[in-house]
């Protein structure tokens, strides 16, 4: 099924595409250096951090707005901070972290450029993962239904959805070019979020991961 952004906060609940979530974690895990210092923005209940601590022995810190999710991180042995992610990053010196991860969070931010640029200040690498709203099934969905995209991931009607600022791969590429952000690595995955997509990713990829560095 098509992949679009979740209606719920990232990783707040394990919704249906469980194996897609795992694929996401595996790609990020491949990019993360062992024993590095990782900051996870919008860390939810800490699934990704727990995976990275276990698989890569990283030192992880998460930021989330919700008490229950931070409490869940604490209970599983993780460090988590309840509060605003930009304010959090402002409290740290340049390059304090090795990597900032912003996975399935970027579409819910008030100021996505501000967050990504601040992340590039506090870390040498920034990983951004997002669902591609330019994916062909999402385009057809809007074209033929004439309504806000709804599918297995995006289950709620507009009046029950959180504010979202959906983006496409082309949007993100434009953003990186405009802000002179270097794309160190990119991974575009087809609608199954598993198979690499090498052709026309803005149309054919359901999910995108970017590894950013300052130019």
């Amino acid at each position: 099924m098509p992949s679009t952004s979740q209606s719920e906060p990232p990783r707040a609940h394990m919704t249906k595409p469980v194996e897609k979530r795992t694929v996401d974690m595996q790609v990020i895990g491949e990019w993360v250096e062992p024993q590095s210092r990782v900051l996870d923005l919008g860390c939810g209940r800490g699934e990704l951090m727990a995976y990275l601590v276990q698989a890569k022995q990283v030192s992880a810190t998460g930021v989330d707005l919700d008490f229950g999710r931070v409490s869940a991180c604490v209970a599983r042995g993780l460090s988590a901070y309840q509060g605003d992610m930009t304010a959090f990053m402002r409290a740290f010196p340049d390059q304090h972290f090795d990597r900032v991860i912003c996975s399935r969070t970027v579409h819910e931010l008030d100021d996505p450029a501000g967050v990504i640029l601040e992340a590039l200040r506090v870390a040498s690498a920034v990983t951004v993962g997002f669902v591609n709203h330019g994916f062909w099934k999402n385009r057809l969905n809007v074209l033929f239904r004439g309504r806000k995209v709804r599918n297995v991931v995006y289950t709620t009607p507009w009046h029950e959805s959180r504010p979202a600022n959906p983006l496409t791969i082309a949007d993100f590429e434009d953003f990186c070019r405009e802000k002179a952000i270097r794309v160190a690595r990119r991974a575009h995955l087809l609608g199954d979020w598993r198979t690499p997509c090498h052709l026309m990713p803005n149309l054919l990829a359901g999910y995108a991961l970017y590894d950013l560095a300052r130019a």
Binding site: S71, L78, S79, A80, P93
Partner: protein
Amino acid sequence: MGVIRASPPCVVAAAPVECPGIMTDDVQTTTAHHPRHLAGDDVGIVRARDFTHPGPFTFKSGQVIQGFTLRYETYGALNATRDNAVLVCHALSGDHHCAGWHSESDAKPGWWNNLIGPGKAVDTRRFFVVCANVLGGCQGSTGPSSIDPATGRAYGTHFPFVTVRDMVNAQKLLLDNLGVAELHAVLGGSMGGMTAMLFAIEYPQFTRRQIIMASTANESAQAIAFNEVGRQAIMQDPAWNDGDYPRDGGPRVGLAIARMMAHITYLSDAGMDRKFGRRKRESAGGESYTFDAQFEVESYLRHQGQSFINRFDANSYLYITRAIDQFDPARAYGSLEQAFAPIRAESLVVGFTSDWLFPPEQNRAIALALLRSGKRASYAELATDLGHDSFLLESAELYALIRGFLERPETHAVDFAI
């Protein structure tokens, strides 16, 4: 050995638990009239003990006393490896009686009874819980109201100046005496959070986890100002007499006013509005052209002041508020990051939205400095309207957070200290 003093019976508790007027229904777990101390998740009847350190004790100020006593309570049992101890640190007006009941006729249990007990968030089936009245206090530990062996009279203002570090050092001697090899955790709210923080700094090899709640790494000018008004109320009372007053006398008016004012700072505008609003006492009738207490909030505060003077020593109030004002590890160690550098404990900091005495921002600052120092630290914030005293809140969310932190498996992470 411990003796429970005759006057007054130890219904001593941190502020909100104390008065039936305002927060008791939020804080107490049981209200029925059957034997509450027999409740399954309650530590039951407990007894205070005294630990006496026989040798000289040097304060941070350089002043020395020849030995001291700490009154304390313990719940649960120390394990074979002697590393399951949880030290509970009390706030300004609190004491060692943090859980259970001293007698079947007690009106109230210990001040953190909702948190501590078999099966509770601080589980006494699992942990050996220790709580001591601080050095400089007046609930059985050595302080300004104790007798100076050199003169045979109360120390009064001749008692050495007490700092939070002195309180910590004295409690470390107690824990050594109890055979505690390592603290599983140290936790406390308000001044108790400062005590916990300093335990983790001063005894890094000894302290594995710390929970700091509704606290600060250094008081704001506003908080110091409130303490100063309290001290002035005491010191301007002629009965204070430069700190030299009989045990049953002293600046009772000044102390009561100090307490009334301080108590307002422990609550919040919204919380007081919810509890009292503009409600008037029944006896006040309609229009009343006197200065007798008319509003419920007035009689509540008067009651707070009156009950406080029966259990607290005015000089101890001066000493302990001074210790809180002076607390400033950033200044003592150069910066907060440097102060935290030796810490090996994992930390949990908890702030409360309506706390305007030690507001969320000051609690966040502690967590951020710990993280900047490369420590494992978390920050969580609860939305409440109970003000500074929110850390005593009866809240399933708060219990789950604390239990989750205390019971999570030990992590042996790489030390990223800078």
